[in-house]
């Protein structure tokens, strides 16, 4: 996103995880601030306007959920990704209720984390308001629920349409299988089979077969990405 300040905050008390998070985010072009305890994290989050932040659930001094609650009380809406070793749904719900925007269970793949931070950072930047999304020669009419490629209409099942629309809203960014399950099916668990891959495969066949270039790409080990060639 050229011309946009990509400043993110990482609140993490484990030194090695923190270093890996910072490295990973830096290498994909973010400016990263690191806070190693809850107090420091809260101070920084109050002081600087970040595009997104990652918050460890268990922190010294102030616990991750408490930080988010206090930020929201102050009217600060910086999107927050909660990173936690507590994976149970109740805990997930507690985190999201406190004002967290997304939740990732440790251990996670760094690219999954990156995909989610990207999604959050994008959201805080330009909120997609258009009702027609265009990626390359693909056109998605969100209101009429019509998909066209090179002007030719493509028939999609309702769920397939939702999946494509979610990929299109996050165009150019990697979306993980769990994110798809969460946002397209409204389910909160990690798929253990390749069923999502196969499902995306069918959407891909409908969208990409017989076209000049593919739009839906599989990113090995992580998930999928909808993007047009440069």
């Amino acid at each position: 996103m050229p011309g946009y300040a990509r400043h993110v905050l990482v609140i993490e008390d484990d030194a090695e995880t923190a270093e890996q998070l910072v490295d990973c985010l830096k290498s994909s072009g973010y400016d990263v601030d690191l806070a190693v305890d809850g107090e420091d994290g809260l101070r920084r989050a109050l002081a600087v306007d970040y595009v997104a932040m990652t918050v460890d659930r268990m922190l010294p001094r102030i616990d991750g959920i408490e930080i988010i609650r206090r930020l929201r009380e102050e009217g600060i809406v910086t999107p927050a990704l909660i990173l936690s070793a507590l994976g149970e749904v109740d805990d997930r719900v507690r985190g999201l209720r406190a004002g967290g925007d997304d939740y990732l269970v440790k251990p996670f793949a760094f690219r999954e984390m990156l995909a989610r931070v990207d999604a959050l950072a994008r959201r805080s930047g330009t909120m997609v308001k258009e009702t027609i999304l265009r990626i390359g020669d693909l056109e998605i009419d969100l209101l009429a629920r019509i998909v066209r490629r090179r002007g030719r209409e493509i028939e999609l099942l309702p769920r397939e349409f939702r999946l494509l629309a979610y990929l299109a809203r996050n165009a150019g960014q990697v979306v993980s299988r769990t994110m798809l399950l969460q946002h397209v099916w409204d389910l909160h668990f990690d798929p253990t089979t390749n069923v999502i891959d196969v499902y995306v495969g069918r959407v891909r066949r409908k969208i990409d077969s017989g076209q000049e270039y593919p739009l839906i790409h599989t990113i090995r080990g992580i998930g999928f990405c909808l993007r047009a060639p440069e």
Binding site: G87, D90, D186, L187, F189, T192, Y199
Partner: protein, 479 residues
């Protein structure tokens, strides 16, 4: 040790309370028996005195004072009447006839019955005695006093008292002994159970409480505790097997990764080799992490702390969504999914968990069914009971294996080399358990027919998310 425990035991305290209550009842009863017996005897002893008095009065009426004196003297000479007492005095209480010297000072001058402790005898000998006395006024102003020694009655009364008292004491002693011996017995049995518990804490679950074979309630308790211990031992054993399996399932890929990394460290490989090596290692690690989170998930579901997310849901709708999700996968495997879930079938449950469990069942049916075969998925209400059934045409599960397949990491011999971690059906079992549903496995000849029978929904629970949950759900959909 046992004695002090017996004395402190609650059974003994209870026994003593019973003994005291019992003794009170016994004493009451014996007291009544004593009182009524003695009263009756006194009444009987009064009867001859009354008869004699009536006779003497009649003689006085016919023969006058002289006739009466003659009769009294005759009576005094008769050995049969030697325990009788006769006294006739005139109106100024002066001696007229009889074997007593003078009017006893303790005797009242009015008519009636009384009991005297001693009298002054004509013969001079004053022995202590107990006299039952009747005093009668005669028409001429004379007083006739008749008496009889009732010492034998008093003796009898004393004997009755002694007998009753010793019976009461024997009762008391017997009851106390019974109480103590009962308490000792129960304390001894409890002590045996305690000893076993201590032994179990010290050395492990191998110990069992000894039975006496009497079939009494103590044996019943011991049997129940023993079968509880059996069950615990079985669970611990299952747990141990699971840990062994975890160790095995983790060690295998870990060994693989270690070897791979060692090789990378020691040999000079080109970049593409390194890359594929790292990629393989990452996917092995992912596999381990998946296994881990599946295990954790099953434990958490089993811990039953997820009923908070229970809502009214439509089983048919969940199944339709699962089938829709798996349609492409089935197509790829050349399997046709046949769905029959038209009517709304409400169940109370957790949508995520139900979706996950049903996904596992459908996934299994596709993977283990016949190639180019069909899988039938049906939701129906069987006598109001919501039932989900999934049938495939594969080789099925042998009857003797059917309960084992629900165990963690259990895999049928023929599927050892297929992908999967042997946790899918354990998750289904855990979810079914949480929903109070039961799993039925049957032969589809050929194939497996697996059914989930849900309880008839009764509880009224909110059918939609509450406000806060809804707001974050919308927040996510906006992403």
């Amino acid at each position: 040790m046992l004695l002090s425990k017996t004395l402190r035991s609650s059974t003994l305290k209870l026994a003593f309370i019973y003994v005291i209550a019992f003794c009170a009842a016994i004493f009451g009863l014996l007291g009544y028996v004593y009182w009524s017996t003695v009263n009756y005897l006194y009444q009987i002893s009064d009867r001859p005195i009354s008869a004699e008095s009536a006779l003497l009065t009649k003689v006085y009426a016919t023969g006058g004072r002289e006739g009466l004196i003659t009769l009294i003297n005759r009576r005094l000479a008769d050995a049969y009447f030697n325990d009788w007492w006769y006294l006739l005095v005139d109106h100024s209480l002066d001696y007229v006839a009889g074997n007593v010297k003078s009017w006893p000072p303790s005797l009242r001058a009015t008519e009636g019955w009384s009991t005297l402790a001693s009298v002054a005898w004509q013969s001079g000998a004053a022995r202590p005695l107990s006299m039952r006395v009747k005093h009668q006024l005669l028409p001429d102003g004379d007083h006739l006093v008749l008496g009889r020694d009732i010492e034998y009655l008093d003796r009898f009364g004393r004997r009755v008292t002694i007998g009753l008292a010793s019976a009461a004491i024997i009762f008391l002693i017997l009851a106390a002994a019974a109480g103590i011996s009962t308490s000792r017995r129960s304390v001894a049995r409890i002590e045996a159970i305690n000893a076993t518990s201590r032994e179990i804490m010290r050395s492990g679950l191998g110990e069992r409480i000894p039975l006496r074979g009497t079939g009494d309630e103590w044996d019943g308790l011991a049997e129940n505790l023993n079968s509880m211990l059996d069950r615990i031992e079985e669970l611990v054993e299952t747990n141990r097997q699971v840990s062994d399996n975890v160790a095995h399932d983790l060690r295998t890929p870990l060994t693989r990764m270690r070897g791979r990394l060692e090789r990378a460290c020691n040999q000079r490989l080109d970049l593409s080799h390194y890359r594929s090596l790292v990629n393989d290692t990452i996917s092995d690690l992912d596999e381990i992490l998946t296994t881990f989170s599946s295990l954790l998930r099953i434990s958490q579901i089993e811990a039953r702390d997820r009923t908070a997310a229970f809502r009214n849901t439509d089983l048919s709708e969940i199944v339709r969504e699962v089938v829709e999700l798996f349609e492409p996968a089935a197509e790829e495997a050349g399997v046709r999914l046949q769905l029959s879930a038209d009517q709304t079938v409400p169940v109370v449950g957790d949508r995520d968990l139900l979706f996950d469990a049903i996904s596992n069942l459908v996934d299994n049916a596709i993977k283990h069914g016949r190639d180019r075969g069909e899988v039938w998925i049906a939701v129906a209400r069987c006598t109001d009971e919501p039932v989900l059934s999934i049938c495939d045409q594969g080789p099925g599960i042998p009857i003797e294996e059917r309960t084992h397949v629900l165990r963690r990491f259990y895999r049928l011999e023929r599927s050892r080399n297929r992908p999967g971690n042997g946790l899918g059906l354990s998750l289904v079992a855990a979810v079914a358990n949480l929903h109070n549903a039961h799993i039925v496995m049957a032969d589809n000849s050929p194939g497996l027919r697996i059914e989930l029978h849900f309880p008839i929904p009764r509880r009224a629970v909110p059918s939609t998310f509450d406000q806060q949950e809804q707001s974050w759900a919308i927040g996510i959909n906006r992403l």
